[in-house]
């Protein structure tokens, strides 16, 4: 009886991983249809979401401003860099690893995350630099994701990590890199579980453009914008307060909490007012007073009862 012998395959005939991965991606993309036809800015796919009581009815910042005036240092430090230099970034395929002090650690594919019950969340966004926007995000509460992995009683904080891809993110290469990569952020567990805290997968009715943190990012509307970490690949539940990128960069100027607070100035500039991007014009800048917790005090002030917000900035 002849013994089966596997045929010899010449090394030259083996399809490189890169090629078969891209083939799979092509097939996967086709199968997903319009749903995930490409989360890149050029091929934004429409999303449907249900309204939320947490949305503000303030005037929206024009989409053009939301997608062209960004801080996303992985693509460069100029406001225009993320829109201009993120064309090479490919947000698909994508997965988010959730681990640490959880009962059921696992990896979530982006397709699965896009199937979470999506909501429209129109939020104010206040940048630590003194400007603000009103952005119609689409996303789901972070708490819904955390519930699936069953955090242990010992988990006190949640840490987040952005992707590192120097070959696709020009800000992560070269001599001048203002921050250390990966970009990391963190929240206290109760902040992370707050219903206002969402993972966003879209804005203005479509999947997230690269410059806004495709394919999935955090939104914590009562904190300065840099807390809302973009292009997340990892979420860990931990016991100790996690490291955060801007605090590592300058602990005197950027704290772990970084709650929007007009009474606590940045050491080098005032936080009392903000400039609403897209309103006013060259001869009439739209400056407005900044609100405590970015106007979300009714919802979140209770999280910080008895805490000195000046010391814990």
């Amino acid at each position: 009886m002849p013994v089966y012998r596997p045929p010899h395959i010449a090394a030259s005939e083996i399809t490189p991983r890169q090629v078969y991965m891209s083939r799979r991606k092509f097939i996967g993309t086709a199968a997903a249809g319009a749903f995930l036809a490409g989360a890149g800015s050029a091929l934004a796919a429409p999303l449907t979401a249900s309204p939320s009581r947490f949305s503000t009815d303030e005037k929206l910042t024009p989409k053009e401003a939301v997608t062209s005036y960004n801080n996303f240092y992985e693509f460069g430090t100029a406001k225009s860099d993320p829109a201009e230099r993120s064309g090479q970034f490919d947000p698909l395929p994508w997965s988010v690893k959730v681990d640490g002090l959880v009962g059921k650690p696992r990896e979530f594919g982006i397709e699965e995350l896009m199937k979470m019950p999506l909501e429209d969340r129109v939020y104010r966004l206040r940048c630590v630099e003194g400007w603000s926007m009103v952005i119609p995000w689409i996303g789901f509460p972070l708490a819904a994701l955390l519930d699936q992995v069953e955090p242990l009683g010992s988990a006190k904080y949640v840490s987040f990590e952005t992707v590192v891809r120097p070959e696709e993110m020009p800000g992560q290469t070269g001599f001048f890199q203002p921050l250390e990569w990966p970009y990391v952020e963190g929240l206290r567990l109760d902040e992370a579980r707050h219903p206002l805290t969402i993972l966003s997968v879209g804005l203005y009715g479509e999947t997230l453009p690269n410059q806004n943190g495709a394919p999935i990012r955090l939104i914590v509307p009562w904190k300065y914008g840099f807390k809302s970490i973009k292009s997340i690949v990892k979420i860990s539940l931990v016991e100790e307060q996690p490291e955060t990128t801007w605090k590592n960069s300058n602990a005197r100027e950027y704290g772990f909490y970084s709650n929007v607070n007009p009474e606590v100035d940045h050491p080098r500039w005032s936080q009392a007012t903000e400039q609403r991007i897209g309103e006013g014009g060259f001869f009439s800048v739209a400056n407005r007073p900044t609100l405590k917790f970015n106007g979300y005090a009714d919802e979140v002030a209770g999280l910080y009862d008895g805490m000195d917000l000046k010391a814990n900035f």
């Binding site: 430090t77 406001k79 921050l179 960069s249 100035d265 500039w269 005032s270 060259f282 400056n287």
Partner: protein, 214 residues
């Protein structure tokens, strides 16, 4: 020895006036862009920052005239006044845009900013320090003040230092552009205490330059 052809004496005057015109072009162009929606979604901040960077560039150019003459042998001393005044004009425009377009002339918040924010305090001190230099930049003042004129105009050194510091403190992180500008100011200021020994060394090695450098 220099590769730059010398300009006919007849054209010295016109070339200085051309420098003023060319030097004011960035401001005019950015103003036009800002007013017509060409400076992005935050045109006032962009305009304000561009004016500040150009002010620093003209300060750098002003400070570069002396080392250029000492080291390369190119004498552009005739352009130094224009460069210094252009720096002053840009500082005034930078300040005015901040005051009027950015802060909307809100006196109370402006006063608070000037007192409380070190980088704004430094900026204001630099602006004020430049005023006597601009006022005494004419030939009459130079003759009238004599040796005191040189002494007074050494104020440009602390002003350049202050300008660089103002820039350093105003940015969220030191990226390529601030690094280059601040670095140039640092190099040009560092040259000043080295100048005398450098010229002495050069004179020792090459007597012909010694005569020209005096």
């Amino acid at each position: 020895m220099t590769v730059i052809p010398s300009l006919s004496r007849r054209l010295h005057g016109p070339s200085i006036w051309a420098l003023y015109v060319i030097g004011l072009c960035p401001a005019a162009w950015y103003f036009y862009q800002g007013a017509t929606g060409g400076l992005g979604v935050n045109p006032v901040k962009t305009f304000e920052h561009l004016l500040g960077i150009w002010a620093l560039r003209f300060l750098i150019a002003t400070l570069a005239i002396t080392p250029l003459r000492d080291i390369v042998g190119v004498n552009w001393l005739r352009y130094r006044r224009a460069l210094g005044l252009l720096a002053f004009y840009y500082v005034v425009m930078h300040f005015s845009v901040w005051l009027i377009l950015d802060r909307g002339l809100e006196v109370s918040s402006i006063a608070g900013d000037i007192v409380k924010r070190p980088y704004i305090t430094i900026g204001i001190v630099c602006l004020v320090s430049l005023v006597p230099l601009a006022v005494t930049s004419n030939n009459w003042s130079i003759r009238r003040l004599g040796p005191r004129w040189s002494k007074l105009h050494q104020l440009i050194y602390p002003v350049a230092l202050g300008g660089a510091l103002h820039y350093l403190l105003a940015v969220k992180s030191v990226t390529f552009q601030p690094f280059v500008h601040i670095g140039l100011v640092a190099v040009l200021l560092a040259y000043r205490p080295l100048r005398k020994p450098f010229l002495a060394w050069k004179r020792g090695g090459n007597p012909r330059v010694a005569r020209a450098g005096r």
